[in-house]
Structures are given as C-alpha cells and as structure tokens.
C-alpha cells in the first residue's frame, strides 16, 4: 500500500484540543492549522512512498532544509483522497535525494471542500496518535545514514544544513 507523506505543523493542529475531545470534528480545527498547510497554486506537495518506506519521504523533505528543526509528518491515504474526487498529479520534487525524485505528488485543484477533506484525514490521523514526529536527533541519523550509503551527497545539501551536521 502506498502513502502520501506530508509535513505539518503539529502545534498549530493542537491549538484546539483534538486529543481529549471525543466530539472534535474537522469543523473545530483552528484557522491557523488550516492556513499552516500553505497551499500553493491550489495544491499541496507530498511524497508518495510504500508503507514501509516512510523514512524515504522524510529524508526527501529534510534534505532540502536549511535547519535541523524537528518536524511532524502525516501519512495520507491516496485512494481515499481520490475517492473524494481529489486529483493527484506526479510533479518533479525538489530534493537532493535523487532516488526518490520521481515520487513527488501534488494534491491538486484544491477547493474549500477538498481542502476540508484533507484536513479531515489529518484530524483522523492526529486523533489516532499516528502523527510522526522526527526530532533533530532522528533527522541527523537519517541524513548521516543516507550520506554513508551514498544516497545523498553532503555537498548537495544547503550550506547552512551542512554546517549543522
């Protein structure tokens, strides 16, 4: 089964108490959480990977960063999005991790309704406690391993990130 891995700002989603409120629905999500999704051209960027390769997507995300900040990712279900008439389109991804280059997906043509559907999936993931947090320590290890395996060239990373490794 494949998944769409997307970075989120967990603290924004936790502004309203998702975890301790059984009746919490997508309509209760804070505006900051929705705007933190940062659509561009009515699309959201994600990496499509197999269930057992989520860390490849995380590596694709963090290897284009300038800082080793902790990040949160959620794994969206592409078939559920498509069954809600949300279009997924393969587009070139921006990452120095060459072997995942072709796995970048845009969640396209988003509207008020379909962005709500994406938000609904995120709320569900958060309620289930399935948001994945990668701390600075985890990120460093992912990057070191990829460099040692030759999957990532250190000099292709942003200079600021290189200095922090």
């Amino acid at each position: 089964m494949s998944l769409l891995v997307r970075k989120i700002d967990n603290a924004k989603w936790m502004q309203n108490d998702i975890l301790n409120n059984d009746t919490f629905s997508v309509e209760d999500v804070s505006a900051d959480a929705i705007t933190s999704l940062k659509t561009s051209g009515n699309a959201l960027s994600a990496w499509q990977v197999a269930e057992e390769a989520i860390e490849d997507a995380v590596l694709a995300i963090v290897s284009s960063h300038q800082h080793l900040d902790t990040i949160d990712v959620v794994c969206l279900d592409p078939s559920s999005l498509e069954s809600n008439r949300i279009r997924l389109q393969s587009t070139p991804g921006s990452t120095p991790l060459k072997d995942i280059f072709g796995q970048h997906i845009d969640i396209c043509d988003l509207t008020y309704r379909t962005l709500g559907t994406v938000a609904e999936q995120i709320v569900h993931i958060l309620k289930e406690g399935k948001v994945l947090r990668y701390t600075k320590g985890n990120i460093k290890k992912l990057l070191y391993d990829a460099i040692n395996q030759g999957r990532l060239q250190k000099d292709e990373l942003d200079e600021s990130l290189r200095k922090r490794l």
């Binding site: 502004q15 960063h65 300038q66 080793l68 902790t70 947090r133 701390t135």
Partner: protein
C-alpha cells in the same frame, strides 16, 4: 531597491548609516533622530573625558529600538514561517547580529519582554533565537526559552523546547530534565529530546 541602515562596529557611540540589502518587502525607516535623550545625559563622560560605556550601550539600544523594532515586528507578523527553513526574521536579525551581537541580543530580549502577551511575536522571536548558535545568543536566548516554558500558550512552550533542542548543549539537557508538560504529545516530544541529548552526551 529599498535600503535599510545598520549600526557599525566602531566603538565611538556614533551611528554611521550605511545601506545593506533588503529582504523582500522589509524596508527600514532611516528617519531616526540621534539627539541625546535624558538617559544619555545622566552618565555623559568617564574620567578621561570620553563618553562612558554605559552611555554608549544605552544609546545603541535606544537606536536599535527606534530603527528596527517596528520593522522586525512587521516582518514576524507577515512572514510565512516553516520549520526547517530560514525565515525573513532570521535573515533580518542575523544581519544585525553581525556588527553588534551584544546590543542585538539586548534588543531582542527587550522586545520579548514587552511583547510576551503577543503569541505571534513571541513564537517568531523564539524561532529566530533557536536558529542562532548557542554562544551567539547566550545568555539572552536561553533565558527567553526558559520563560517560554512557563507560558500559558502550548505553542510557545513547544518553541521553548525546540530552542533548547536546537542548541543541544549540556545546559539545555539540564534545563529540559527539569521541565514537565501537561499535554501528552508535548511530554512525549520532551522525553524524546532528553533521550536524544543524553545519547549525544553519553549520560543517563
């Protein structure tokens, strides 16, 4: 292209205006008055007849407040921050840190205290200081992050933990070991950061 003005490193107490590149829409207003105010006049000279260090420091801090506070607050409120990347506020502050680290830190600390009830500004400032190296921002940065840990807002508290995590010093570890979080998700994060730092320093 818009220009903004910065203090020089010269220890004369005089402000030399020189243009530096601008970030996006950030435009500093250069209409600052450099007339002495009461705080400068209280402690005007030292025994050798020059201007005292205290006077110079007060003057520089006042000039930072006059020249840059409004602009930094505007940048923080308008910027599109994303974890992992430099923000416009990062670039703005780093530019000011270069010639005068000491006054920039004092100035950031002063804004932080004045704006402690404004979540957006407090978070923006914490994100900026957490991206600076520990020795650069010490001791004001860690003090700001410490204050963040007791803020009523959970996002501010998380930013406090993030800052100590980014600095990753033994002092950061000692501080984080004495923090308790009420939210389960944040406590989980805190425990993981402590574990990461313990591993890094080889301590239990």
């Amino acid at each position: 292209m818009s220009e903004k003005y910065k203090l020089t490193t010269q220890d004369t107490g005089k402000v030399k205006e020189e243009p530096v590149p601008s970030y996006g829409q950030t435009t500093l207003q250069a209409g600052t008055t450099h007339e002495p105010v009461l705080e400068d006049l209280i402690d005007l000279s030292d025994s050798s007849g020059g201007v005292s260090e205290n006077t110079l420091n007060r003057r520089r801090l006042r000039q930072f407040k006059e020249n840059y506070t409004k602009e930094l607050l505007r940048i923080i409120c308008e910027q599109d921050f994303e974890y992992g990347f430099d923000s416009s506020a990062d670039l703005f502050v780093r530019e000011l840190m270069e010639p005068n680290e000491a006054v920039t830190k004092e100035w950031l600390n002063a804004i932080y205290i004045e704006q402690f009830s404004d979540i957006r500004v407090v978070i923006g400032l914490l994100q900026v200081v957490s991206h600076l190296q520990y020795p650069e921002i010490y001791p004001q940065g860690p003090t700001m992050a410490l204050a963040a840990l007791s803020h009523a807002n959970s996002e501010v508290r998380e930013c406090g933990i993030r800052a100590f995590e980014n600095w990753g010093t033994i002092e950061s570890l000692n501080i984080l070991r004495n923090v308790k979080c009420t939210e389960s998700w944040m406590q989980e994060y805190l425990s993981q950061v402590i574990k990461d730092l313990e591993k890094e320093f080889g301590v239990q």
